[in-house]
Symmetry: D2
Subunit: 165 residues, 4 copies
């Protein structure tokens, strides 16, 4: 239902997401470094600092913030065993046939067009930088968060490609 009276809490949403990422030692610069490696050949004039500004910019987009909050909540709730079975064990196993993590991430990437989608698919398979570290951290549920980082990378790649072409 579209509630026209609801005032979206933009600042609270941004603060929640950035704080949760920092708690996991994920900094915007880490995300920017992945985009740099992916896109440097196409936009040689962009530095890691430039990409970091773009990371912060896409992190203010509401559709991205919404999916990010859901992703972070689901990982935290799985960590606390607050999801119902059998979802709990599927999320904890980060099962290859689960796919809701990728669905949320693709939804974000699609906001930035097809360059977003293909870059997301690529980083989901190659898991560069901080994404790969998250994917292999023991005893911590990062099923949704690694895909979220991949989606942010893809969003920035898509955004910058259109800006510069």
């Amino acid at each position: 239902m579209q509630e026209s009276s609801f005032k979206y809490p933009d600042t609270d949403a941004f603060n929640y997401v950035i704080t949760e990422l920092l708690h996991r030692n994920i900094f915007p610069k880490d995300i920017a470094a992945i985009v740099y490696d992916l896109q440097h050949e196409y936009v040689p004039e962009f530095t890691v600092d430039d990409f970091e500004k773009e990371v912060l910019d896409v992190l203010h987009k509401r559709e991205l913030l919404n999916s990010a909050m859901v992703a972070i909540n689901l990982d935290n709730l799985a960590q606390q065993n607050l999801l119902s079975e059998p979802l709990l064990r599927i999320v904890k196993a980060d099962a290859g046939v689960f796919g809701v993590d990728e669905t949320l991430a693709t939804g974000i990437a699609q906001l930035y067009g097809s360059i977003g989608v293909t870059n997301y698919g690529y980083v989901d398979k190659t898991k560069p930088g901080i994404i790969g570290e998250l994917d292999t951290t023991p005893d911590t549920v990062n099923t949704f968060i690694d895909d979220l980082i991949g989606a942010i990378v893809a969003a920035v790649a898509g955004k910058v490609a259109h800006k510069t072409a």
Copy 2:
């Protein structure tokens, strides 16, 4: 990460979803009745019973079950105030600019092609039958579940259209 050793719990997932729907007085026949109203003009040979069989069939599809389990968990956790702020109040308000409910539902609908997607969009706006009842139930969080039902309707519409053309 694709874990080739993980055995997906198909039966547990189906049982969880169907039981949670029954707890909300949502029966496969109610979903079938919406599909019948939508698609009867295109497939006059299909009865509500035929569509009910198709509803049960799509409810065995893993990608649908995964999104359904996430949708149901999120509504239940919001009901119990177990989501973090500001996500909790956004989900409780069923804010029009939230959109993660529609992203999950579109992900399901897309498994059944473009007929799935357009039918989902249509029922999301018109809220026929049980979907409209869920959307207006007071004191109960049905933010994700109404879109889930819409996605199941769309899935069956898309599946049957290809079967019969």
Copy 3:
């Protein structure tokens, strides 16, 4: 292949699309009128003129222009019998199980998030205003163009919803 040396012809693309729409007697104001009918209850402060400005704005977005040029070319080529069989007769029949027209349109709508996607699905089924007229024009192939108009409507609806919430 990403060709960083290619300079995208933004102006030519916009001029091509707007001219082809005018040749079919489709004016930005007609598209704005459909958005007004759909979204007036949520954004009562927006006039048809305001929506017309937004229509012109989304018509400058590259991903939209690219899909629009493909859609228009395919309808024109079908009209001139320049598509190969059996694609030619499928496009001419505007077959319900074709779906590529809806895939292109959904790709556009997704750039504007889930509000875009659901609004596209809705107008694809209800065919308001100029969309319904295109869909029933005899002896003219409008298989892709009616979905393109639906996608533009959806894009503006999604864009304005986020702007105002």
Copy 4:
């Protein structure tokens, strides 16, 4: 418009697509070989021959055939200079910001769930086997066809992952 009276030409569509691929020296086994390299670690029991059977199976799916026919027609029409400007030069340049080729391919991949989408994104960036050869063939427009092959690879990867998990 959904035309319930239209009989979809399944056989003609399959024959058209397979013949056009053969004309470009693309054989189902070449596509199967790419899937084998991508998925062998997850499904060691599948041989290239097994994947070839799956390639032929997905090539009978209508939504895939529809997008495939559009993709092939667009490349052929570009080759014959029958697309309008500026679309013609954008397609011939295979411009990175075009994206309609990827939109069609993603539409196919999404029929096979999120594993389909991520695998498509990956092969779109890495261009293994026949895909890379197509992407660099001089004097031949393969803008849409290389993405089509990537989408078929992704479809089979997604299909087999669910079959075996």
